[in-house]
């Protein structure tokens, strides 16, 4: 697969169809890939795609004052299913011109969540690893262990029904359509069953650990505001301390700002240095929007953003009651 992908991208670069292609290369840590910006055919030799390609690279299209888009006329980008949804979202929200981006889809079979792996091995150091037959083999100074994939994949992958990008210019292999996942919202449903005091406690407990580094916001493809509400300081919009009240406000507002826009890529979860479960609340909002408005972010390039449409028969119980 990787050879085919490299050939495809070399061709795009050679033909000058694109000025730059964003992909991944091997990182400096175990189980870690790092973004790769390819401008020459030689660069492409470093390209990889495997279960360690964690980053949602579409973030680079909107970050830093959309600098890349200004620097290059045509950018190629390699996408997994969730990343592909981000591109669709950008197009729907008019952040990119679809024709300026060449989308190269790759078949995704799940990404390894390093945090889960390190929990399993008690934060010991990994000196060697191998990924084979949906299993992860690890070796350290005083241990050796084989872990099945379902124990180490990202939660977002385990609840992902769009593993392959739907909107692409090139796809390596055969893209799968939407998968049917009966348990997609099982964690959310469990949360919903709890009494409200318990839910509130859970939210408080989780968000009280936040150190307000904003890694979650910065890796998030959907968080691309020129000035984020947390950076509004004249006057200051929200408290900036890591006190739980300030942090909860930050997170609940962010949950609402990415409502109907979160693509379930899980980048925020992997980025958080203090391991906060950021996915659950986003999934909860996603479920709510699906049920109320029959809308799933980034799945239809011809749709309007869900907040930009109105339909008379929408459920309005939260206003009426």
């Amino acid at each position: 697969m990787i050879q085919e992908l490299r050939i495809q991208i070399k061709k795009l670069i050679k033909d000058k169809t694109v000025d730059l292609v964003i992909g991944w290369e091997k990182g400096t840590l175990p189980l870690t890939a790092t973004p790769l910006f390819m401008k020459t055919e030689e660069d492409v030799d470093r390209l990889i795609f495997d279960h360690t390609c964690r980053n949602n690279l579409t973030t680079f299209l909107t970050k830093d004052k959309r600098k890349l888009g200004k620097q290059y006329d045509k950018i190629g980008i390699i996408v997994k299913g969730c990343d592909g949804r981000s591109i669709v979202l950008y197009s729907v929200e008019k952040q990119i011109k679809r024709e300026n981006v060449v989308i190269i889809g790759v078949p995704c079979n799940g990404i390894i969540e390093k945090k889960k792996v390190y929990q399993k091995i008690d934060k010991k150091e990994i000196l060697e690893y191998k990924i084979e037959d949906e299993q992860l083999y690890l070796k350290g100074r005083d241990f050796e262990i084989t872990l099945p994939f379902d124990e180490v994949l990202c939660d977002s992958c385990l609840s992902c029904s769009y593993p392959d990008a739907l909107e692409t210019d090139h796809f390596i292999g055969d893209a799968r359509e939407k998968l049917d996942l009966p348990n997609e919202y099982s964690q959310v449903e469990e949360f919903e069953k709890k009494p409200s005091e318990e839910r509130w406690e859970l939210i408080k407990e989780e968000y009280s650990k936040c150190i307000r580094c904003y890694a979650c916001r910065n890796v998030c493809p959907s968080c691309y505001c020129n000035v984020c509400f947390v950076d509004q300081n004249d006057p200051q919009w929200i408290g900036k301390t890591p006190e739980v009240t300030d942090s909860i406000i930050f997170h609940l507002i962010r949950n609402l700002h990415v409502a109907g826009r979160c693509v379930n890529c899980g980048a925020c979860v992997s980025a958080c240095p203090v391991d906060i479960d950021l996915l659950m609340m986003n999934k909860k909002v996603e479920k709510e929007i699906k049920e109320r408005f029959n809308y799933t972010a980034g799945t239809d390039i011809n749709e309007k953003p869900f907040t930009a449409t109105f339909c008379e028969n929408e459920k309005q119980d939260f206003i009426m009651s």
């Binding site: 990182g27 790092t34 650990k209």
Partner: protein, 340 residues
């Protein structure tokens, strides 16, 4: 030197607690950090390094400088008991020493006045730091690049070496020596020097090869306008994770919170990675885009701090390497720069 059995640690912590508020590495939810402890049972091994650095003990993420209301200004009361910190690894002990150069050592400010940060000094000056030799450095550790090493005693008042069943404690500073003398009779006879040496050698063998960065300061002076900065910074997404977990980053912001007639002024950690880091009141920001902010981080650590305090503002603890969501590894940045 004083040697105690590991089982005596709980006695030592109790002894310390009479005079001090004791901090130590603990498991704190899913993360690990330094927190106030009540008993030795809470202590965890600080190898691997705690997720969050111990800088917050002396330089909290949010610190109230004063409160105000219609009756005037109130500065928070000083902590009653001084701080003792158990289990700071050598790199972290060294980082506190660096921060003390900024906050604790009087330095000249305009108008020929000297400045000391009272909030820092009241915590740091009376503190007692138990540094811990690092028996098993990680592959992300690079303390050896900065004249440090797993058995480096700098910054510790008492330096502790952990053997299979014992802690061997050595007084480094006057404070540390005095404490040990009061705590237990010095007994050199029982110390296995060879064992210590072999632990040290084993620890050093875990570290990857030292990279010579002695020219980094000069290199940085020369490459201000070079395209290499674009290359270095291209993947950084400017989250503040690296700077918040860093044991030596110390930029802060001051924020007023309050309603009419009542409120407080707080000092908060800031980060050169944040978009409003140097945003000026006019709206102009000299570091408006990512490349300028990444440059600031590297320059501050390996050039400006050298100008001011004659050392690098980095201990090689590797925390930033571990948390970076795009694996922008500071070691790779340094290697690139020395080769320009």
């Amino acid at each position: 030197m004083v040697k105690i059995k590991k089982t005596e640690l709980s006695g030592l912590i109790n002894y310390l607690s009479e005079k001090y508020q004791v901090f130590a590495p603990v498991k704190d939810g899913k993360k690990t950090s330094f927190q106030k402890i009540k008993s030795a049972d809470e202590i965890i091994d600080s190898i691997p390094n705690t997720n969050l650095s111990p800088k917050s003990i002396f330089f909290p993420q949010a610190e109230v400088l004063f409160k105000y209301d219609e009756n005037g200004i109130k500065v928070p009361k000083k902590d009653e008991k001084p701080f003792a910190v158990w289990g700071m690894r050598n790199c972290d002990a060294k980082s506190v020493l660096m921060l003390n150069k900024v906050f604790g050592n009087a330095h000249q400010i305009p108008d020929n006045k000297m400045y000391n940060d009272p909030y820092w000094k009241q915590k740091y000056d009376s503190s007692l730091i138990f540094g811990l030799a690092c028996n098993a450095p990680l592959s992300t550790c690079f303390c050896n690049w900065f004249d440090g090493g797993p058995f480096d005693e700098k910054g510790s008042d008492v330096f502790v070496i952990e053997t299979d069943d014992h802690f061997i404690m050595n007084g480094i500073s006057e404070k540390g020596k005095k404490f040990l003398k009061e705590y237990k009779k010095d007994d050199k006879s029982d110390i296995d020097k060879e064992k210590i040496e072999s632990l040290k050698q084993k620890a050093e063998s875990y570290l990857s090869e030292k990279v010579d960065i002695s020219n980094i300061y000069d290199k940085l002076n020369k490459i201000w306008d070079e395209p290499i900065w674009e290359e270095i910074s291209s993947k950084c997404i400017n989250c503040g994770a690296c700077t918040f977990v860093c044991s030596t980053c110390h930029c802060f912001d001051v924020s007023d919170e309050g309603k009419s007639g009542k409120g407080q002024r707080i000092r908060l950690w800031d980060s050169c990675m944040f978009p409003i880091f140097t945003n000026e009141a006019s709206g102009h920001n000299p570091r408006g885009v990512s490349v300028q902010r990444v440059k600031q981080r590297v320059m501050h650590k390996y050039n400006y701090f050298m100008d001011n305090y004659n050392e690098h503002l980095c201990t090689g603890c590797g925390r930033c390497v571990l948390v970076c969501p795009v694996n922008l590894d500071i070691r790779e940045i340094l290697k690139k720069i020395i080769k320009v």
